[in-house]
């Protein structure tokens, strides 16, 4: 009964969304206040209905109602509660309901918090946002209905893929979708601005916090996926340039660019046309990511079960919104008033450089991801584009970006003095040179490029700190005066510093683990010892064990360093009951210098076990760095001036606002 109720709620949500798509936009066109005001309650009703649908699906999962086809195909009564809940979005149909739920939540947020938005802008935004919801609700109801019943109901379900039964992965999709879908709001604002034919600083002021929120969620979502791949897949890799990883990375790159260009638009009313285009493209890339994952056109570890009908439907949605958005852009972009003038050496100029580099980097990833598809449809040849392509194209574009990064926040708006900025970065430059020399001296192996990589990472980190040090006049005024300035610093300035610092830390982690990873694959019998990266691992044998819904073989390893015991590692090989599938659980010891990583392989006929050891130097910096980026975003979001609904502070000259 509850299932039918949920299904019905989803159909009602579609009807509400159709009304919300048409009425407010019509009202804005006719300048009818009452019709425009219809948008807000409709958006709230829509989110309530989708929430009912989502919760009733969750109810079916929690109570293991196997008369629902979706539950029977993806859940199992023996699964722990948390994975029965996360199972809701661990499959195609359920994850689409979550997708639409998040979409509706963002729409409702505009309705609820957007009281001080111009009525017509708000009406148009809600209409556009709702048109996306209409498309995806139709998609769910016509091609991927999660509420379909089975008759007769099976005795038990088929279970969730065991590698998905993991805490990090349970929350990876919700964050990822919040990121993807969050960019829909930037898209809706961009389309609304084009419909109205005007934008202003208030527009950017509105778009920026939502883009920032989406960007934060996408950042943490991608990081969670990477972290999960690192410890769960048993290869110790953290990024594979897999097409589906790229599908989430491209909106991230475009979103990062959008975040920075919206800044220029807000502060200086420049780059309007470009910012609007970027907002359309960012969401288009999110839609493309959805298409690539759902249609199964690409070979990937993440692919969902494939259904050509769905692929065509999502492709149609993507073409409609991207094509429609770009067509409207082509028609109306000329009407947007031009903004302030700036010299190439200025804050604006540095942000333009940031945008150009990020966009082109995004293009290289796009080409690498889609080239196999294009080639196959043109010539029939099947190819794969691997990591070497991305290392040769993406990485060289990131180097100038990272080198220029510390300059950005030190530049003044309109016209800046590059010599002065350089002066403030002397300490950061010296520090990175020291690190470069030290890295060369200390490491006797590894690629010769790695010390440069460390130097760049340190340059970015130290550059971020130097900027804050300059702003609080550290060293040039008494310390308590600096502390006072520090506490008075706008939160968004802290956010910028942290986010940039996080980037530098992540670069160091990437360079460390890529350049200096060590790996050993060998056969071991109980009692044997192997050394890797200064650690001695002694195999103590393997024993079977039983978990809630799996059986496993646990290998025991004693780890010592210079004779002193360090830890025990217990990698295991699991066989899940439903579906019967093996997985490897790595044994990981996190030291300050890096991760010791052990995987238990198959037992050989002669009784020895195949084992694999890795030492990943600094690998944790990658995720700590992304976490710091996330925190930076969060602190910036809590800034008064950005907080949604906060009144605009008037009467400040742009020059006196050196924030961000």
């Amino acid at each position: 009964m509850i299932i039918e109720f949920g299904h019905f709620a989803l159909i009602l949500a579609l009807l509400v969304a159709v009304a919300q798509m048409i009425v407010p936009a019509w009202g804005a066109h006719m300048r009818d206040e009452r019709l425009m005001a219809f948008g807000a309650p409709a958006a709230v009703a829509q989110v309530a209905l989708v929430l009912i649908a989502f919760l009733s699906l969750m109810y079916a999962y929690v109570t293991s109602d196997f008369s629902v086809a979706n539950v029977a195909a993806n859940s199992h009564s023996s699964k722990p509660l948390i994975y029965r809940i996360s199972g809701v979005w661990g499959n195609h149909e359920g994850s689409m309901v979550l997708w639409v739920l998040i979409l509706a939540i963002f729409g409702a947020a505009v309705a609820l918090f957007g009281r001080n938005l111009p009525a017509s802008l708000k009406a148009n935004v809600l209409s556009v946002q709702s048109s996306i919801a209409v498309a995806f609700l139709l998609f769910i109801l016509l091609t991927s209905n999660p509420f379909e019943r089975l008759d007769p109901a099976p005795f038990d379900g088929r279970g969730l893929n065991p590698i998905l039964q993991d805490p990090a992965l349970a929350f990876h999709p919700p964050f990822l979708y919040m990121g993807y879908v969050g960019f829909s709001l930037a898209f809706s604002f961009a389309i609304a601005a084009l419909i109205e034919g005007r934008t202003d600083a208030a527009w950017a002021r509105w778009v920026r916090p939502w883009t920032l929120l989406a960007w934060m969620c996408l950042t943490i979502g991608i990081a969670m996926g990477s972290w999960w791949a690192y410890y769960e897949l048993g290869w110790g890799g953290w990024w594979f340039w897999d097409p589906v990883e790229n599908a989430s990375f491209m909106p991230w790159l475009a979103g990062t660019a959008l975040l920075h260009s919206a800044l220029v638009m807000e502060k200086r009313e420049a780059l309007k046309v470009w910012t609007i285009l970027l907002a359309i493209l960012t969401f288009s890339l999110s839609l493309m990511g959805t298409f690539l994952v759902r249609s199964g056109v690409l070979s990937s570890v993440h692919a969902f079960a494939v259904d050509p009908e769905r692929g065509v439907f999502v492709l149609a949605i993507m073409v409609l919104f991207t094509g429609g958005g770009l067509a409207l852009f082509a028609l109306r972009a000329r009407d947007l008033a031009q903004g302030g003038v700036f010299s190439p050496i200025s804050r604006e100029g540095s942000l333009v450089l940031n945008n150009v580099l990020l966009t082109i980097a995004c293009v290289t990833v796009l080409v690498g991801t889609l080239y196999p598809l294009a080639l196959e449809s043109l010539t029939g040849a099947k190819i794969s584009v691997g990591a070497p392509y991305f290392n040769m194209t993406f990485v060289p574009l990131m180097i100038p970006l990272l080198l220029a990064l510390p300059f950005g926040p030190l530049m003044a708006w309109k016209r800046a003095d590059i010599a002065a900025a350089l002066e403030r970065l002397v300490a950061a430059g010296l520090l990175s040179i020291v690190v470069f020399v030290a890295a060369f001296a200390v490491t006797e192996r590894g690629p010769w490029l790695a010390p440069f990589g460390f130097a760049i990472g340190v340059w970015v980190m130290a550059g971020a700190l130097s900027e804050t040090a300059f702003r609080i006049k550290l060293g040039s005024v008494p310390l308590n005066e600096s502390v006072r300035r520090l506490t008075n610093l706008p939160r968004s300035a802290f956010g910028t510093m942290l986010a940039h610092f996080g980037v530098g830390l992540m670069v160091c982690g990437i360079v460390g683990t890529t350049g200096y990873k060590s790996e050993e694959i060998l056969l071991m019998r109980p009692g044997e010892t192997k050394e890797i990266a200064g650690y001695a691992l002694t195999f103590r044998g393997a024993a079977p064990s039983k978990g809630p819904n799996y059986t496993e073989t646990i290998g025991a390893f004693d780890v010592t360093r210079n004779g002193a015991p360090v830890t025990h590692l217990e990698p295991s090989k699991r066989l899940y009951d439903a579906p019967p599938q093996p997985t490897s659980e790595a044994g990981i010891y996190a030291a300050w210098t890096g991760d010791l990583y052990a995987v238990l392989g198959d037992q050989q006929p002669d009784g020895a076990f195949a084992v694999r050891f890795y030492f990943h130097p600094l690998v944790r910096c990658i995720w700590i760095g992304t976490l710091i980026m996330f925190l930076g975003g969060a602190i910036s979001l809590s800034d008064r001036r950005l907080r949604v609904g906060a009144p605009r502070r008037a009467g400040r000259a742009p020059v006196a606002v050196p924030a961000e």
Binding site: G234, V306, I360, V363, K382, V385, P388, Y389, M392, I521
Partner: protein, 154 residues
């Protein structure tokens, strides 16, 4: 600086960087693109020894032989032809006889494929699309939406 000059500068910067990127991309494609072939392709096309490619198909039933250490030999088949493969390292969890697999490496002069990477996909009900497609093109019947390797009629 006028608006026109500024725009020219930005466009120049963009076009310049884009062409650098395009050159890098072409260069990178030439070096890092790997083609996918089935065992029948290997038998028919006579792929040059030493060229790196991906060989995909099913692990032939009864062909897995473990050698010294972590060395292992098996055959990859598309049910029409089979290619012997040797690999040294730990096989993925989902590597099983009858399971869809993609291996990457080079073909030796003796027709033996030396793989340095073995990918078995992470879902037992999932077959790499290249493999499923190639098998279908070869007229192999696949059951249950071409996703379940055990449903392949051999």
């Amino acid at each position: 600086m006028t608006r026109k000059q500024r725009r020219g500068l930005v466009i120049g910067l963009g076009v310049g960087l884009l062409s650098v990127a395009a050159i890098l991309m072409m260069f990178a494609f030439r070096q890092s693109v790997v083609f996918f072939h089935t065992p029948t392709d290997v038998a028919e096309h006579k792929i040059a020894p030493g060229m790196r490619f991906r060989l995909g198909g099913l692990v032939k039933a009864g062909s897995v032989v473990r050698g010294q250490g972590t060395k292992v030999q098996f055959s990859v088949t598309d049910t029409l032809q089979a290619v012997p493969v040797s690999y040294e390292g730990i096989l993925p969890d989902l590597f099983r006889e009858g399971q869809g697999v993609v291996t990457e490496g080079t073909l030796g002069p003796d027709g033996h494929f030396v793989a340095d990477t073995v990918l078995a996909k992470h879902d037992e009900t999932y077959m790499p699309p290249e493999v499923a497609k190639a098998l279908q093109e070869k007229g192999v019947k696949l059951g249950e939406g071409a996703t379940h390797p055990e449903a392949v009629t051999q």
